[in-house]
């Protein structure tokens, strides 16, 4: 794989929640391997919808969405689920974790659904659990934190667990949907630094969506959703 290869590329993607009402029209948009892209836009501008499209949970009305060279739109749903499990790590705004699982179980969750990521995680450390502990610790969680139940963790700690989960098994693309909106300013910058540090180790790309422009300096490229959404311009 060349460095320039696109991990994600969208072509002529069209989407509206109801027929006739168009929300997104994206002629071309791509993210290269290892690249981090900051995408900003006010709420309601279609950011989350775009993430739904990219992760293959929502199907576009037209167009092509490639993840690592595979067209999400034209493969059956079960293959899409596999593709998502194998290549994407997703971080939400808040409440990323399943309360009935412990920290390590939460981190290793993607490895249960993806053989590829399970094998990759084992390559680095012998066991998936070992990799989970290693990741959690390099994200600044103490072993005391790791043995806590999820609900005992602070919001910032929870978000770090979410990052560990997104990173385990080195997925090609990390999608982060306003992951810092629940954090205070100091934690916000720290969080993004840690996220960037760790993803470099896996050479994962990052698509970071937020309405907070002050964060844009941390990324290779910063875009406004209206830059790529031609519908909004017309």
């Amino acid at each position: 794989m060349s460095i320039d290869e696109a991990v994600l590329s969208l072509q002529d993607v069209l989407f509206g929640w109801t027929p006739g009402s168009e929300l997104l029209r994206i002629r071309a948009f791509s993210i290269k391997r290892g690249q981090s892209v900051f995408l900003r836009g006010p709420s309601g501008s279609g950011k989350s919808t775009l993430l739904g499209l990219v992760s293959g949970v929502i199907a576009p009305d037209a167009g092509r969405i490639d993840i690592c060279g595979q067209d999400l739109v034209r493969i059956p749903g079960s293959r899409r689920d596999v593709l998502r499990a194998d290549h994407l790590g997703i971080i939400f705004q808040q409440f990323n974790l399943l309360p009935y699982l412990d920290v390590i179980q939460n981190v290793t969750l993607p490895c249960r659904f993806s053989k590829l990521r399970r094998d990759k995680a084992r390559e680095m450390t012998k066991t998936v659990t070992g990799q989970a502990i290693h990741l959690a610790e390099s994200l600044g969680l103490s072993s005391a934190d790791i043995s806590k139940t999820v609900s005992e963790l602070s919001v910032g700690q929870q978000q770090r667990v979410a990052v560990a989960r997104a990173l385990i098994g080195g997925p090609d693309l990390i999608i982060a949907d306003e992951p810092t909106s629940a954090l205070d300013h100091k934690n916000r910058d720290r969080f993004i630094e840690i996220l960037n540090d760790q993803r470099h180790r896996f050479n994962s790309s990052l698509l970071f969506v937020s309405h907070d422009e002050t964060l844009s300096s941390h990324f290779d490229e910063a875009l406004d959703l209206s830059d790529i959404n031609t519908r909004a311009q017309s």
Binding site: S48, T49, L51, G52, S55, V57, I58, G77, S78, D81, V82, R84, A85, D86, L88, I90, F92, Q93, F95, N96, L97, L98, L109, P110, F113, S114, R165, D177
Partner: protein
Amino acid sequence: MTIISIATAVFLFVAVENLRQGARTSFERTISDTDLIVGARSGSINLVLYSIFQIGNPTSNVTWETYEDITKRPDIAWTVPISLGDSHRGYRVIGTTDAYFDHYKYGDSRSPGFRDGRVFIDLFDIVLGAQVADRLDYELGTSITLSHGLGATSFSEHTDKPFEVVGILAPTGTPLDRSVFVSLEAIEAIHVGWNSGTQTAFSRMATPERVRNMNLQPKSITAILVGARSRIQTLRIQRDLNTYKKEPLQAVIPGVALSRLWGIVSVVEQALAAVSAFVIAVGMIGILTSILTGLNERRREMAILRSVGARGRHIVALLVSEAALLAFTGAISGIVCLYGMTLALSPWLEERFNIGAARHLPGLFDLWVVLGVTCAAALLGLIPAIIALRRSLSDGLSIRF
């Protein structure tokens, strides 16, 4: 909460089933090896009820001549006469011969054994059923009197002729436990000088000593237990006796009458089973609603699972197995509670209701109930599962709370 409701439902369902089976077996075990019961013409169920179960009252009697006639038949192996009509503190007195203890069989051809003592020999000897002795705290040698009539309290007591307890039967789990046995002659003896159920002046002169010297052969008896020489002849004997010329008789085959009787009882039993089935159904709906109401709060959970690569079938499997697990836990705890209670209460149950054969250990039936409940819940779990799946598709990964 849902688990408790399922547990209660399964508890009830299996309890009803066990009681039913217990009742049925103890019912069917009441009499065996008797080919025919003969009495005055009434109803066949009535005849079995008063002669064996000691429920209801005999209508009229069979004369002693008829009894002798029947006994003389060559195709008959044995006969046991029964004379009813008296009681002791609510327990019925059976006037009979010592042949009763040889020929009356219950369960798998078991004879009622003696726990203490022996058969009546003397005119004023009396044998007690196990329960009678236990309840009234009688032992061998206790002197008791009989009352006229079958009620618990009687106004005409045979106080002038006391009996001595000479034998106590081992418990059988049949109406025998609640009976008192004396010889036919004793029944005659206590009624010397009685006329139509009331004492006459003459009876006061009939002291026990005098009575001993009288002819005490009864003029009539209530019913006769009959054993045929061969089973095949039973039907012919029955027909002969039902068309007996000298007086109207009725001969019934106990098994036939018992199953007819059970047919009547089983309506109640089916109603009970239906009720408990409904209880289970309600419990199921409880599971369904609890999962459905929880579903809204779990949209996030579903989204997280989808985001880490869970497929549709994982979501479905999660919710279905959740429903199944709830039902399974409920059913198992219901069964465990039931058998715990059965173990604790069975001595009391046996004594109180004579339901001795109720199962004490879980069996195949319980396994099927647990399995059925679990499968039904899993099937119901498909409903929230499909709703969740649809929703997770339309929600995408963009849920905000």
